[in-house]
């Protein structure tokens, strides 16, 4: 798995490529923790090249949802592949997490209300 970060104003765009499993999720956890420690609470996650996610990968994102919400931030995913989306759907997380189709839509959701 590879993580690419790009600062955009007060938000951070994270592009994740490859497979996010029990092994690689540790790096993703560090990446998000570092972002929050920098005081950034608006996260866009580009999932276009994320080919696989297991519960450990999902868990990383889930564990920061509350903290981010408490800081009036948001975490928005977009361009998810069908298999990755299906994992969130099975868990019922598609109704709890913010999931957009395109980058534009994701940015709208990130900056609304």
């Amino acid at each position: 798995m590879e993580i690419f970060k790009q600062k955009q104003g007060d938000s951070l765009l994270i592009s994740v490529e490859g497979e996010l499993d029990a092994s690689s999720s540790i790096d993703m956890d560090k990446a998000i923790e570092a972002t929050i420690n920098e005081g950034i609470y608006k996260l866009l996650i580009n999932c276009e090249k994320l080919s696989y996610i297991s519960s450990a990968g999902v868990g990383v994102f889930v564990s920061y949802v509350e903290d981010i919400k408490n800081k009036n931030g948001k975490i928005v995913f977009y361009k998810m592949q069908a298999n990755v989306l299906s994992v969130l759907q099975i868990l019922g997380l598609d109704k709890i997490l913010s999931i957009a189709e395109t980058e534009e839509e994701a940015k709208l959701i990130l900056n609304e209300g």
């Binding site: 029990a22 297991s54 519960s55 450990a56 889930v62 920061y64 298999n83 868990l91």
Partner: protein, 137 residues
């Protein structure tokens, strides 16, 4: 066909295990998405066996046994950590509570039980075995 894999208990091995499983279940007459979900369910049980069953001690091994036809699948995952299957009940926790409690874990078995038809835990020859089955309609 029957496939068997012994792998050292390290998380880095999970991606090879998935590749192995993917090829082993290739003859299943299922959609790509169904096959990807089956690979996920097996990955979750293997991750548990490596992490919880063997504390990622890479001198230990887990054993994966796959019995597959065009329409049916049985997978046994064995680890030496002897646990009480009753303790795996965490899978019933509500997803909203998992989010509220900022949990990183506790979602794996939810996926396993959703994807597979039957999930069974038992102990045999001093090994903990998780047995997964699925029959295609």
């Amino acid at each position: 066909m029957k496939a068997k894999l012994k792998a050292e208990c390290s998380k880095e091995k999970l991606k090879y295990i998935r590749g192995f499983v993917k090829e082993s279940i290739e003859i299943l007459e299922a959609t790509d998405l169904e096959k990807e979900q089956i690979v996920l369910a097996i990955d979750e049980v293997c991750a548990n066996a490596i992490i919880h069953g063997n504390q990622t001690n890479d001198t230990k091994q887990i054993i994966l046994e796959i019995d597959v036809t065009e329409t049916s699948l049985k997978v046994d995952i064995s680890d030496i950590g002897l646990y009480d299957p009753e303790e795996l009940a965490g899978r019933n926790k509500d997803i909203a509570d998992i989010v509220k409690d900022k949990q990183k874990g506790g979602m794996g078995l939810k996926l396993v039980y959703s994807i597979m038809d039957n999930v069974e835990y038992y102990i045999k020859n001093n090994m903990s075995i998780c047995s997964l089955t699925k029959v295609l309609k």
